[in-house]
């Protein structure tokens, strides 16, 4: 086993150790907040360095997962687990770390900073395990294991704690996990070999037609239970609207991406013919859900809901891109997700700042940015980057994905483009409202601007996005 393979396991262990340290932090109220955030920052930065190290070692021309590491878990029945990494999973992992780093300062405002930070680290550890999983068992373990920290995070920080949404959130996701569990057990029984069942080999299984149909149906339902398309859209919409903390908002909205990532890993472009009907049905449902969510985002006045709607529309676009019968745009999807997650995280952090200030001063949203120049600049920059201005890797990579979608099915491409325009319009409309100075009276109370430290921190991220305009890997030294 070479050093890069050890680093893969370290990527899962480092945040988990951070979780244990943060959980056992005992001190006064003030120092505890400081301690747990420092622990989290240290764990996240350690992982970013490890990821960067892995990036420099990766061979971009090689297909499939690299640095494959296998362990035998049990030998009767034989169950092996395997981990590996490629540039697609690495880009998503890196963006998740940056997202957490950006939103971490907001843990200080939370009612339970210790639990919030420690559970975020636990979830990060599970997410890393999920992104590095190369076989069906480790994939299932981490796919499901992130549910409990997510459930507690949502319940502790949102207004949802007394509602039934929180139960629905768990139950919908748990049903998906249970279905996936049955499917992997069935696959493991049908596979007579004692070798590891890699995710990429699942599509190559040749089974009787009816079984194939059920197994692929199960995989689709399990993974789509995470993506907010009908009939699974309800939980995440309700939760996203009610979650107040940027860390939790971002972590919960990463769950749909885990569904998309899972579909990419199961390699559905090579699905057997019996299951290909399911793909067509899925495309229809996905595009209808996308349109509806974009429309609701446009008419909804809540900024958080608009962000959620924007995220969902893009997530479904990535999903449909991943389902295309080609591997060529996989890297484009990875680069796009990298920029997309960072942009949304910064927008969410700025929106949270505006929300807290609004609550503190009891102000309405009209023209609220006019007297906070730093906040206004960053908000405008990241909104424009989000809606598709050529300011980040989102621009060119989305263009490539959309062009492939158009060439695959013109009507599908058209509907996706309309949904994206509508959801972008809702963000622009919100920006317009925030900058509309018609209602501002001279001498009226205005919100506090963001600190210079935060401004420069987020500004550097903006610059990083701009210089990684075409290919983030080149900029980051891969």
């Amino acid at each position: 086993m070479n050093i890069s393979q050890h680093f893969l396991i370290m990527l899962i262990i480092a945040p988990f150790l951070g979780f244990l340290f943060a959980l056992t932090a005992q001190s006064t109220e003030k120092t505890m907040r400081h301690n747990v955030i420092s622990v989290a920052e240290f764990a996240i930065i350690t992982n970013i360095i490890l990821l960067w190290r892995q990036m420099t070692e990766l061979d971009l021309n090689q297909k499939g997962l690299q640095f494959l590491t296998q362990y035998q878990w049990t030998d009767g029945p034989v169950i092996n687990v395997a981990f590996g990494i490629d540039i697609f999973s690495l880009m998503i992992a890196l963006s998740i770390h940056l997202v957490l780093l950006v939103s971490l300062p907001f843990a200080k405002n939370s009612e339970h900073p210790k639990m919030l930070v420690s559970l975020s680290l636990l979830m990060l550890s599970m997410l890393m395990g999920f992104l590095l999983a190369a076989d069906i068992f480790s994939f299932y373990i981490f796919f499901t294991a992130m549910l409990i920290p997510a459930f507690i995070l949502v319940g502790m920080t949102g207004e949802v704690r007394k509602s039934r949404w929180i139960f629905r959130f768990f139950i919908y996701n748990f049903i998906g996990s249970v279905i996936l569990f049955i499917v992997i057990c069935a696959l493991s029984n049908y596979s007579k070999s004692t070798e590891t069942i890699l995710l990429s080999n699942v599509a190559g299984f040749r089974l009787p037609r009816v079984r194939e149909y059920w197994i692929w149906g199960g995989i689709f339902i399990a993974l789509l239970s995470r993506v907010p398309i009908w009939p699974f859209h309800y939980w995440i919409a309700s939760i996203s609207g009610a979650v107040q903390n940027p860390i939790v908002f971002m972590l919960i909205n990463l769950l749909p991406l885990t569904g998309v990532y899972g579909l990419v890993r199961f390699c559905p472009k090579a699905v057997p013919e019996s299951a290909s009907y399911l793909l067509t049905g899925l495309e229809v449902i996905a595009v209808i859900s996308m349109l509806f969510i974009a429309m609701i985002g446009l008419i909804n006045k809540d900024n958080r809901y608009k962000l959620f709607s924007f995220m969902t529309v893009y997530c479904i676009m990535f999903l449909l891109g991943a389902l295309l019968p080609t591997n060529r745009i996989l890297l484009n999807i990875g680069y796009s997700i990298f920029a997309f997650l960072i942009i949304i995280a910064v927008l969410e952090v700025l929106a949270a700042h505006i929300y807290y200030e609004q609550q503190r001063l009891d102000l309405n949203t009209y023209g609220i940015l006019c007297q906070a120049p730093r906040l206004s600049f960053l908000y405008s920059f990241f909104t424009l980057a989000a809606v598709g201005f050529p300011l980040s890797a989102l621009f060119i990579n989305n263009f490539v994905i959309l062009s492939y979608l158009f060439s695959y099915n013109f009507n599908l491409g058209l509907l996706i483009t309309i949904s994206m325009i509508v959801s972008s319009a809702s963000l622009l409309k919100e920006l317009y409202v925030l900058k509309d100075n018609r209602y501002i009276q001279p001498g009226s109370v205005c919100i506090a601007d963001i600190s210079k430290k935060l401004f420069w921190g987020l500004g550097i991220i903006g610059i990083l996005l701009m210089i990684s305009f075409y290919n983030p890997v080149l900029v980051l030294g891969g």
């Binding site: 009767g76 507690i152 319940g155 249970v178 029984n189």
Partner: protein, 473 residues
């Protein structure tokens, strides 16, 4: 020759424990609750050690035997009794309540259970079980109570006695027909003569007696109801120790003695298993009493074990025992947590009392979460392993409908447990808790360590279970 009788030392020490407790109660004036707890601890520990030392030595005959299989269950039971007894001493100290009845009863029950596990004879096994019911009746009646509680306990005792009598009738019929009372004789008889309808009914009666001890549906109703009224040490003991004995005897009878009748018995076990899964999953979501919630979770898991044991291959027994062990560790962990949740000397009983314990008792709250997740089979905890083997086995048996039913009920059950997580983590603190005993933390730490080690390297568990089954078959 002498060494065969030396192998009875564990039982002899338990007998000595009963005599010591009785003598101390009669003659010693200063009887603190700790006195009896200490006697119990020493004797149980010695008994456990000797049980392990003489693990394969027994009076080889038609009456009594020690094998790896019996030692495994006896060891588990003695360890469980030792730990529950140790944790219970705090309760008696805090309540300033005489503990001699409790320790005498658990000693008496453990002794009778040891005899019934090692018995190679239907009459000895049934006799020991019947005697154990006397111990459990005495145990249930040990605290002061109001009329409603008394009636509930009396109903439970009455039910237990009825099931034991039915088991007695079943044993009589089989012994009368086969003219044999030893297990080996009965096996040989049914190899020669195909079982008649009355034999099948008799074996069903015997198994129903065993299932009433385990607390499987539909024989569980009073057991679940009395959990609400009993004192915590009694609930913990009754939830763990009889189940170990019941499983040991059930597997022995079903897979060896009644092997000629296992088709109708398998149907009966599947029915009881499904009913237990159904009642457990629904029951957990429909009560506000935390002990009842976890008792229903236990019922659900017992149902799955019955379903697994009802299949007839060696792998089924192996998977059933792995599932059983995982369940046992988790449920013991849950009840250990209850010992750490005491407010003004009273152990909590209601779901609302758990509100906000993540602030006041963060480690106990975390432990409760870990054990509950393990019971649900959610990764990355060891419950996943039980679910994994169970699912693979049911798929191999083509029991897809059964699998669908179990997982549907698991989702229903998860709703019941989510209410506990919600109360612990999302609600504001309502009551203050007393300082928890160090023993509780030690027990929880040990339990969590076992769960983590088993999850990381489950092979040792699988290998051990394999050895045990080989000795049994």
């Amino acid at each position: 020759m002498l060494v065969k009788y030396v192998s009875l030392f564990p039982e002899a020490i338990l007998m000595a424990m009963l005599i010591s407790i009785a003598l101390v109660h009669i003659f010693r004036q200063a009887q603190t609750p700790k006195t009896f707890a200490t006697i119990s601890k020493i004797c149980m520990f010695l008994s456990l050690i000797l049980c392990i030392i003489f693990y394969n030595i027994g009076i080889n005959g038609d009456w009594y035997i020690n094998t790896t299989y019996t030692t495994f269950f006896k060891g588990l039971m003695l360890l469980g009794a030792l730990l529950t007894g140790s944790l219970a001493s705090k309760w008696f100290l805090s309540q300033n309540y005489s503990s001699h009845k409790y320790y005498f009863c658990i000693g008496f029950m453990v002794l009778s259970f040891c005899v019934s596990i090692s018995a190679q004879n239907l009459i000895l096994m049934a006799g020991a079980m019947l005697v154990s019911v006397l111990g459990s009746s005495y145990l249930l009646m040990m605290n002061r109570e109001v009329t409603e509680q008394k009636i509930s306990k009396l109903c439970y005792i009455q039910d237990s006695i009825i099931f034991m009598l039915l088991m007695g009738i079943g044993v009589s019929v089989i012994v009368w027909h086969s003219k044999e009372w030893s297990y080996s004789g009965i096996i040989a008889y049914y190899k020669k003569v195909p079982p008649q309808t009355e034999d099948i009914i008799a074996s069903c009666l015997i198994l129903s007696g065993i299932m009433s001890i385990i607390g499987a549906a539909p024989f569980h109703l009073q057991a679940v109801h009395t959990a609400k009224y009993n004192i915590l040490p009694v609930v913990v003991f009754m939830e763990i120790i009889p189940v170990i004995t019941g499983v040991a005897i059930l597997v022995t009878l079903f897979h060896t003695v009644f092997v000629a009748m296992n088709e109708p018995l398998s149907t009966m076990m599947k029915l009881c298993g499904c009913l237990s899964v159904l009642m457990g999953a629904i029951g957990a979501g429909s009560t506000l009493n935390i002990r009842k919630i976890y008792q229903n979770v236990g019922l659900f898991n017992i149902g799955i074990m019955l379903i697994l044991f009802s299949y007839l291959t060696v792998q089924d027994i192996q998977v059933g025992l792995i599932y059983f062990l995982i369940y046992l560790f988790s449920i013991f962990g849950i009840f250990s947590c209850f010992y750490g949740l005491c407010s003004h000397g009273e152990y909590i009983n209601n779901l609302d009392d758990l509100a906000g314990i993540n602030e006041t008792k963060p480690y106990i709250a975390a432990a409760l979460l870990i054990f509950s997740i393990s019971l649900l089979g959610i990764p990355p905890l060891v419950g996943l392993l039980g679910n994994l083997y169970m699912t693979k086995l049911l798929i191999a048996h083509q029991s897809i409908k059964m699998l669908g039913f179990i997982f549907f009920m698991l989702v229903v059950l998860s709703h019941g447990l989510l209410r506990i997580f919600k109360t612990i983590y999302f609600e504001k603190k309502k009551i203050n808790f007393d300082r928890a005993d160090k023993g509780v933390y030690f027990s929880l730490f040990l339990n969590i360590l076992i769960i983590i080690i088993t999850m990381i390297d489950p092979q040792f568990l699988i290998d051990d279970i394999e050895d045990i089954i080989h000795s049994f078959l």
